[in-house]
Symmetry: C2
Subunit: 357 residues, 2 copies
Amino acid sequence: MKPEERHLFIEACFRRPVERTPVWMMRQAGRYLPEYRAIREKYDFITMYKTPELVAEVTLQPVHRLQVDAAILFSDILVIPEAMGMALEFRERQGPVLLEPIRQVGQIPSLKPVEPETDLNFVLEGIRLVRRELEGRVPLIGFSGAPWTLATYMIEGGASRNFGHIKRWRFGQPDALHQLLERISDAVVAYCRAQIAAGAQAIQLFDSWAGILDAAGFEAFALRYVRKIIQEIRTPGVPIIYFARGVGAWLPRLATCGADVVGLDWQVDLRTARQILGPRMALQGNLDPTALYAPPPVIRQLVREMLKRYGAGSGHVANLGHGILPDVPVEHARAFIEAVKTESPVFHNTSETERLP
Amino acid sequence: MKPEERHLFIEACFRRPVERTPVWMMRQAGRYLPEYRAIREKYDFITMYKTPELVAEVTLQPVHRLQVDAAILFSDILVIPEAMGMALEFRERQGPVLLEPIRQVGQIPSLKPVEPETDLNFVLEGIRLVRRELEGRVPLIGFSGAPWTLATYMIEGGASRNFGHIKRWRFGQPDALHQLLERISDAVVAYCRAQIAAGAQAIQLFDSWAGILDAAGFEAFALRYVRKIIQEIRTPGVPIIYFARGVGAWLPRLATCGADVVGLDWQVDLRTARQILGPRMALQGNLDPTALYAPPPVIRQLVREMLKRYGAGSGHVANLGHGILPDVPVEHARAFIEAVKTESPVFHNTSETERLP
């Protein structure tokens, strides 16, 4: 480890000048990689993220294969509900399922406080292994689910169409929901702090289901807890990224989340977002993941448009607007990474900014 | 029919003064009604919307039961792909499925132009029956799917997770997609004109899948066609409503759609939307459909907040932000309708606006 090393990704997160836009992909350690599928054939998903050696191996795959500018820990957001005492099962095609979802307020007190060093040591050990193997080449991003999204899984039990159970709480018994969100927030704070202590150099909070809320609900049940968590886990030099999906309607509100970086899905126009959020935070994103189905020359053109929408100067971490899809050809993923690396310097060379595309 | 009659719903669509906010619900002729389920037990869904007498009966059920301020034709947006020659099947739990989705550009020329008077006479006859039975009590809203949403079904074949097929077209072969959207637009124009000629007193265009697009794609593949259709079907006295789901990030763009009314999902804050869209169009919506799971006193409170977010004056048609859910108790639906009727007059009584809540 060379802690003194200057990483493009970290610099851009803090909106400091960089020579080109850094790039990584959500779910970059995933099924689109043949080497990931080879491991996945031997182990089930839960075994994979609970075995530090496998965590490290899978986390590093995209770094080796695609030279992304950051690694992100291979894990799952449901480790927290599980550590709180909820039984978890992974079902093929259906994904993870919490077997006894929370449907009564009375179930909340039985949830355990999380002690990351014991309950989630496999994650922390995975982080230490990755850091050792990375030798400072690129920084490692740790992550956690945000409270609203975790509560959604904990109440619904798994994927849902209308999120009827948690919405009944949101509208019918908001106090119970706040009680649950408090508990989850405590766990998220402990978990993120432990990840940072183990060596995570950035933290991303995933709020994948924020977009099912209404405007007032986003503030009350999602943002309020995210803001508190960010305050409590803040560590010098460790940028915090808040990625919420489907929240393009609430950019002015999002500007108050307190993160260093806001991750945006592909709905959001980067120029608009920079106008609203730019003065306070860096932006991460946001190419439509399905754009990687297009042939590489089209991908290059779409990357150029994305960079142009953000415009000149630092404060942009290129990424997809959501996780890379399992059926994207590796060559297309490579085209995306390459395009950002070769097309972005012009947006950072101040002497050239006058003749920007 | 009393054509001279003044309808609250039509007046509000044109932002003319009204004594209270009119209200109806998307999917108000649906499974939450026991009398709908009674008919649905005897007939399959396709038979229901293809039999004018059943169309009329089901369309009128919520008018009788809940005294909504507008009826909306009971039908399905997939009548257009079917009239264009695509085989349609309705599967329990899965919903409608187009058996041979369009996956090759070469399939487009085989799509038939739609002649509503012959291909879709069951709809037009249904409209005539409903108008006769309504005797002018409330206006009847006709509807069609918007081209992007119809293209989504026609290419994917049914429900989809990532919309990979149409997204491949969007990014990889946009010309082919435009060719398909042109065809669909022609059909939608003919269909809406025929509905108006048969007696529809307003038209709503449903763009349920607009939100899966990116910002540039929304303009190029959705809005552009909607704008053209609205110009071509415009008829004096017949308001046109454009309802697109998941587009709260694009309100300024939405302001250019040319509709008289924009339908909003529950993500959008009505105050923000009125600031951006209000000078040009009326707003329809937008209570979270899951809010109707809450007990009636909470529903009343949420309705009050919705009315307050829109504020004083005409130009608001109260509605849910999406279709009413099948497991909502009828009494909760009634509470929603009643609350709008009793809580809204204060927002329209100009002498009282000074002491608005």
